[in-house]
């Protein structure tokens, strides 16, 4: 349904009754979403609730078995899927760890240019240099010829982050991007993400279990439970004790605690925003 004076293409993501089924098992069903350009959404849910499946469908790497999906105002088709994927930066170690094994790190980053898993023919020196610059920014400049499976979990995560930024994406789908990162790498990426999110045209969906890390940055939240949309709306409205107790199906309490955190000093070498956007 389109509201008056509201263009369909205003939505970066529009899902109607989206579902995904493998055999007789429904992994996702009844997902209705409308995400506007420049919005920042948190995707929240317990293990196995379908977060990664949803993100992989939104990224064009899986196809829904029910419902309709439009990304950038168009459904994914055989003709446009690669072009659409190039506009999306997707990070998901739980997805890509099942696909990548012995591929060289540089090839994986370069594959981001094509929106595919592997590389292609048209790799220019500018592409190569951009990929190396991204790897350098993530501290992997000396690992570019190593195979993916020889890296630590945190290093693999950084490779996927570099891959996601190969095309300077308009839509960022980050599936637990802090997973495996050391404390300084996490702080540096959080800082970069904050800067990127200040740009009005970047839409971000962020899957995380660590709500304290991200809650303030994300104005909207999707709560998934057992493959269904439990709730969606403004983050501050959803993260209330009553709402969360209902979501977790047991009483929960929210505490604000003073935390000791480690972050790079103010004068540290920051990740340059220009490299990523």
């Amino acid at each position: 349904m389109t509201m008056p004076n509201e263009s369909v293409t205003e939505y970066v993501i529009e899902a109607k009754d989206l579902g995904f089924q493998v055999g007789r098992q429904k992994l996702l069903s009844g997902i209705n979403l409308r995400i506007k350009k420049g919005e920042h959404w948190l995707v929240y849910g317990m293990n196995g609730c379908g977060k990664t499946t949803l993100m992989s469908i939104l990224a064009g790497f899986r196809q829904q078995t029910q419902g309709e999906l439009q990304v950038f105002g168009e459904p994914f088709t055989n003709e446009n899927v690669l072009a659409q994927r190039k506009r999306i930066g997707w990070v998901s170690s739980s997805f890509f760890d099942l696909r990548y094994r012995h591929e060289p790190v540089l090839d994986i980053v370069l594959s981001g240019k094509f929106g595919t898993y592997g590389t292609g023919w048209d790799i220019t020196s500018a592409d190569h240099n951009h990929a190396v610059d991204l790897l350098t920014a993530f501290g992997l400049e000396d690992k570019r010829y190593l195979s993916y499976d020889r890296l630590s979990k945190g290093q693999r995560q950084n490779v996927l982050l570099a891959r996601a930024f190969m095309n300077r994406p308009e839509l960022l789908l980050l599936d637990e991007p802090y997973s495996g990162l050391d404390v300084l790498a996490k702080a540096r990426f959080m800082e970069l993400l904050n800067q990127l999110m200040q740009q009005e045209d970047l839409t971000v969906l962020f899957v995380s279990h660590e709500i304290n890390d991200v809650r303030e940055q994300f104005t909207h939240t999707i709560m998934l439970r057992n493959g269904r949309l439990f709730a969606q709306g403004r983050t501050e409205e959803l993260f209330q004790e009553k709402q969360l107790s209902s979501f977790f199906q047991q009483p929960v309490q929210m505490h604000t605690v003073q935390q000791t955190t480690i972050a790079p000093a103010d004068n540290h070498r920051k990740l340059s925003v220009e490299l990523f956007r």
Partner: protein, 144 residues
């Protein structure tokens, strides 16, 4: 867009018949990675031997790179030791450079070489079939 995507799949189909893995020199295969209707996005070139996605390289370039690495005992990864893995990584590295050079000199396109390569026999490691007389002569020559 349709034309562009058709080209990608066509290119992959041609490469699988013509090209080899730049690490091991083995044949490539087409592998479907996802179950969906997007044919152009779900198929990739794959090396079964190395168990990895591999866009491949012209076999003549692989052979040249392999000869170069073996003959000149090149190891670009001395920190990782002298082993089969570093040998393959070095061959892959040299093959990449050769591929780049050929491409930028205009001898190589995504359809293959624009000029038919005329390679030295020793690089190709050609087999020579000897008859009994030739074998006897060779034996006398080597062990007088």
């Amino acid at each position: 867009m349709q034309k562009q995507n058709e080209k990608r799949l066509d290119v992959l189909k041609k490469r699988v018949q013509r090209c080899v893995c730049k690490s091991c020199g083995g044949p490539l295969s087409l592998r479907q990675l996802d179950y969906n209707e997007f044919e152009d996005a779900r198929i990739e070139l794959f090396c079964e031997h190395c168990d990895k996605l591999e866009f491949g390289i012209e076999p003549e370039l692989y052979t040249s790179a392999q000869y170069y690495v073996d003959e000149y005992r090149v190891n670009f990864y001395p920190d990782m030791g002298n082993n089969q893995m570093t040998r393959r990584m070095s061959i892959s590295y040299v093959a990449d450079i050769m591929n780049w050079a050929m491409q930028h000199m205009g001898y190589l396109t995504k359809e293959g070489f624009t000029v038919a390569p005329d390679m030295e026999g020793k690089i190709l490691q050609e087999c020579i079939v000897l008859n009994d007389q030739m074998a006897d002569d060779l034996e006398k020559e080597l062990m007088p």
